[in-house]
Structure formats: C-alpha cells, structure tokens
C-alpha cells in the first residue's frame, strides 16, 4: 500500500482522477458536469480537486461563457502520468496479493 500515491489513493480523489483520465488528453469538463457524473457535493468535490491541484495533477480554469462564469477541470500531463503509475503499481500489488 505504501507504494501507492497518497494524493490519488483516497476514495473520492481516485474517483475524480479515474473519471478525468477517461477523457482524451487536452479535454476539459465543467465543474457542474463533473459533479453530476460523480454525484458528489460541490464542497466535497472542491476540496478534493484542490488537493489534486496542489499536487499538480489537476488544472482548474475559470472562464466566462457568455455572462456565466464556468470552471473547467482537466487532468494535467503530470496527473495523467501519476494515474498511469498508480494503476500500474496497483496491478502489480494485486497480482502479488495471495
């Protein structure tokens, strides 16, 4: 367990990272759509996104769409690489699990 990235290895952050990793590189998702898909509260999602952002794994970009402010969330290259390492490590640990 100690080999798994602690930033990703929390239930909510793993869900967020796995979902964002399923988007194509460079694709972003609006905060409300991500919240709806993951059925998380706005506060809970914000908290975990901030932790992922502090680690450089997620980027949040604020824009104005028409007159409405919008936050677009995406996985950074570092976040994508960290998630790939996480899944690789997890697979190795699971194969070694009796």
């Amino acid at each position: 367990m100690t080999d798994l990235d602690p930033v990703i290895h929390a239930q909510a952050r793993l869900r967020v990272t796995a979902f964002l990793a399923a988007l194509a590189p460079g694709e972003t998702l609006t905060f409300p759509r991500l919240q709806k898909e993951l059925t998380m509260t706005a506060g809970n999602l914000s908290t975990h996104l901030r932790k992922l952002e502090d680690a450089g794994y997620v980027q949040q970009t604020k824009t104005i769409d028409g007159r409405t402010p919008a936050t677009h969330v995406s996985l950074t290259d570092a976040g994508r690489a960290a998630f790939e390492t996480y899944t690789r490590t997890l697979r190795t640990l699971l194969q070694g699990d009796p």
Partner: protein, 211 residues
C-alpha cells in the same frame, strides 16, 4: 454516498487494493457511458433511417423511377428523426466538455449545416431549370450523399477514425455506382448497401467496445 460526512473528510479514506481497482473500472465505465459518443447508437439510427427510408422510396416509386407517395414522406420523416436523435445523443454526451476536440466538433457541426444548405440550393437550382424524371432522382440522391461521404472522411482524418473514413469512402463509391443503376434500383441499393454499411459500422463499434 459520502454526503453525511463533513466536506473535508468525505471520501478521504484509503480504499483497499480490490476496492481501488473496482473504483477505477467503475469510473472508466461511467465515463464511457456518459461522456463518450456511443457510435453504435449513431450508426444504428442511420442504418434504420437509410434501410427503411430508401426501401420506402423503392417500394412506392413510379414507372419512370420517380418517388411516389408515401415514399418521400416516410423517407423524410426517418431522416429528420435520425438527425434529431443524433444531435440529442451527441449534445447530451458532450455537454460540458471542452478542449481542442470539442472546438473541432463545433466546426464540424457548422460544416454539416453549410454542406446541406449548399446541397439544398443546388437541388433548388436544378428544379428551377426543369430537371425531372430519372436524372432528377439520381442527382437529388447523389449530391447530399456525397456531402455525407466527404464530411465523414474529413471528420475521420481530423479525429484519426479509420472506421468513419471507411464508411465515408463506402458511401461515396456506393452512391457513384448506384447512380449508374438508375432509379428506382438505386434506392434499393442505397437501402441494402448504404443502410447495411451503417449497420456494419455499428456492429464494428460494438465489437470494438467489448474487446
């Protein structure tokens, strides 16, 4: 799920190994079902629209091959329904998604609209100069089909989608070849080989999704 916990605590616990793997699989699956366009749906809808619509045109065509009622009505309703189903499906799946691909998709949407506006104008101009009978049936079918074929191939090049390119190329060659058969046989060929082409693309997408 974790809503009963304080926000800064909810979902912070470390899952065990099996649970972690299950979360990853579940979220991948959720993303595939919610934010990815399901090509099986899009191609499947068009397989039905072309298959049944063209069959209706063939069934009720007149002695000179001209479409007779209710063929064009059935065809028009099915094509309109397929357009609505496609737009609703794609809009629902891609709402909230941004980035270079989303921008290219928006341009592509305009290309479809402009392409068909041009095709309609050409049809109107040909009607104005008195084109009718079998020649009209061939041209009125070929122009919009070639717009579809070229846009499919262009879209395939932009998104590196081999299946879409093959489908576009198939439609272009089919409409060219079927035009030589003349009306109403071309409608039967479009129903079987055009609708069939979409059905094969849907089946191919389905098999790829399960690989």
């Amino acid at each position: 799920m974790d809503d009963h916990q304080p926000d800064d605590q909810a979902g912070d616990h470390a899952p065990d190994l099996a649970e972690s793997w299950a979360i990853i699989e579940a979220e991948r699956d959720r993303a595939r079902r919610s934010v990815r366009v399901d090509e099986r749906v899009v191609y499947g809808v068009w397989a039905v629209a072309w298959g049944v619509g063209y069959l209706a045109l063939w069934t009720w065509s007149g002695p000179q091959g001209e479409p007779g009622l209710p063929g064009p009505i059935v065809f028009g309703v099915l094509i309109a329904a397929a357009i609505v189903a496609t737009v609703v499906h794609i809009e629902g799946r891609t709402r909230g998604i941004g980035g270079p691909d989303a921008e290219a998709n928006a341009w592509l949407g305009w290309a479809w609209g402009i392409g068909f506006a041009g095709a309609c104008l050409v049809a109107g101009a040909l009607g104005r100069v008195g084109l009718e009978g079998e020649a009209a049936a061939i041209v009125y079918n070929a122009v919009p089909c070639l717009v579809v074929a070229v846009l499919y191939m262009g879209s395939a090049i932009a998104f590196h989608d081999r299946r879409q390119f093959v489908l576009g190329a198939w439609i272009a060659l089919l409409v060219g070849g079927a035009s030589f058969a003349g009306a109403p046989t071309l409608y039967l060929l479009m129903a079987l080989l055009g609708g069939g082409g979409f059905a094969v693309a849907a089946l191919h997408a389905h098999r790829e999704g399960h690989r």
